[in-house]
């Protein structure tokens, strides 16, 4: 039988008929004539009024409360205004779920309002492979914060940058594999990402307000040649306006800080249980995390604005099916993904408060055995 004939026979399957029937039902449910865009606000206002009456009437008559979400559900498709490019925009606070959020989400920073792409606010995607995980260090930009462009509601006029997560002054990460990177923005709103690979090669990417992106590597640009240790800090500061050399130097870890305390073992066990695999294997280490005072306009950061704090990183290997668990206390700016199957999860915990600063998960096996993490715990033996 010819391939085209085989393809055409797909339309004769029972599946094709049932799917068509479901779509017909959905289309009929929306009505033949949907409200025109300029009528939407009136319709929504009327609907809210009717819904309020229904709720109040329901309470009065039945002594119960009707869920408002049920009443509003049919209106969700028409809830957000659209710009000329067809992008929806508005406050994420009005959204019922991640999927319901508009394309452009309202943000406010440095005293100005604007909109950021929902996809930008999601931050870097989780590592797709062990190799990429080692390169971006367990999504550390997501842990420590990152900058995204801020636009007018037309989604094309960039009016600045919005810092999300992290301390507010910028984001920096150091790979367990040796690579490191930093991200900041200059006074003109240009987002500058500087990455140094394990072999010492440096790549600097600048995304300007006009949307143009330039990437230079030391090999292509003599001014960006591999720098000596002596000249690197000064030049990096000049290039990135980064607070790399502001504030105290990174303290040395002492031996007493390298043992996993009991509370950490309990948190790791709880996280593994909550994610569906109490027999997971945990690998962990303590490290310093750089924090800066909230970013205030273009003002330069002073020494007092920067400090180092101790954090624990725990990586749990297992077969996790319920992450993020209902008890998850994520402070991550990255939107919670849909529960699924993950091979590892990480926790970043504050040493003093024991609170989870951020957490994440990966669906691809991540071999941490090659990294110099300080400890390994078989959580099954803890039970």
């Amino acid at each position: 039988m010819h391939a085209d004939d085989r393809e055409n026979r797909l339309a004769e399957t029972r599946f094709a008929g049932e799917l068509r029937q479901q779509l017909e039902t959905v289309a009929a449910g929306h009505g033949v004539q949907e409200p025109r865009p300029h009528r939407r606000r009136l319709v929504i206002a009327l609907a809210i009024g009717v819904a309020t009456a229904v709720v109040l009437g329901g309470i009065a008559l039945a002594g119960g409360v009707q869920p408002l979400s049920d009443t509003f559900e049919p209106l969700r498709d028409t809830f957000w205004p659209q710009n000329e490019n067809g992008q929806t925009y508005g406050s994420s606070g009005l959204a019922k779920s991640y999927e319901d959020e508009p394309d452009l989400i309202a943000v406010s920073s440095h005293g100005t309002k604007g909109f950021c792409y929902k996809t930008d606010l999601d931050g870097p995607p989780p590592p797709e492979s062990p190799e990429s995980a080692s390169a971006d260090d367990l999504n550390l930009p997501g842990m420590l914060g990152f900058a995204v462009p801020k636009y007018e509601s037309d989604d094309t006029t960039q009016i600045g940058v919005f810092w999300i997560g992290g301390p507010g002054g910028g984001a920096g990460w150091t790979s367990l594999g040796g690579a490191r990177g930093e991200q900041t923005a200059d006074g003109h709103g240009t987002i500058i990402t500087t990455e140094e690979a394990a072999d010492g090669s440096i790549t600097i990417t600048r995304k300007s307000l006009d949307g143009s992106i330039t990437t230079n590597s030391a090999a292509e640009d003599p001014s960006l040649r591999r720098l000596s240790i002596a000249e690197r800090p000064r030049t990096w500061r000049e290039i990135t306006l980064w607070f790399r050399d502001v504030g105290p130097k990174r303290p040395e870890l002492t031996s007493s800080e390298s043992a996993a305390p009991g509370w950490l073992a309990e948190r790791m066990s709880a996280a593994a249980r909550g994610a569906g695999d109490p027999d997971a294997v945990a690998r962990w280490t303590i490290t310093y995390r750089r924090c800066a005072a909230p970013f205030a306009g273009d003002a330069a950061l002073a020494n007092d604005d920067v400090k180092w704090s101790l954090v624990w990183i725990a990586i749990l290997h297992g077969d996790f099916t319920t992450w993020p668990s209902s008890g998850s206390a994520s402070a991550s700016p990255v939107a919670s993904p849909t529960p699924g199957s993950y091979h590892w999860i990480y926790l970043l915990l504050d040493k003093d408060s024991h609170e989870i600063i951020s957490e994440g998960a990966g669906s691809t096996p991540f071999d941490t055995s090659e990294f110099h993490l300080q400890g390994r715990t078989d959580l099954a033996e803890q039970r």
């Binding site: 797909l10 799917l19 068509r20 779509l23 959905v26 929306h30 004539q33 992008q87 294997v281 290997h317």
Partner: protein, 187 residues
Amino acid sequence: MERRETGSDEELLTASVRRPDRFVAFYDGVFPGLLAYFVLRTLDAQVAADLTAETLADAYASRRRYRDRGPGSASAWLFTIAARQFARYLRRLRVEDAARSRLGMERIELAPDDVERIEELIDFEHVGREVRHAFDTLRADQREALRLRVIEGCSYREMAAELGCTEETARARVSRGLKQLAAQLDG
């Protein structure tokens, strides 16, 4: 299944904003190609059916964002959604149902006859040859890891005991083996 409305895909999709029933006619035209697209990529009839349904539900929900940019633009728009759904499936090895849930659509379990008809699109003999060839090109430790995990269904703990390595290493070998296999098959 008969096509009850006429008009180009672009006209039907544009009209479906005001007349949702036109989307069903759009569906009639694009369904076979869309299902075939997923079948040939997933080699799994049920997964392909789920992806097809989710893609169409997603397309229905977001049809207001479609802009008619000439012949072929409706198909390009739909297959952009399809590619995004497929990428999500590859990342999570699970078909999302968010769009169907929002619209109140239920998952359709394929009947055996449907599975057979959909699988007619797959040239299993050719696929088998390709897979065997790609499998042979893997490193010995990756082949062994895939055999234990995929064919024998061992847990990573059992694999670690069998292979004399850590679970993390066993996972890495499976991951790298699958990636290598995928690269070979794509090439």
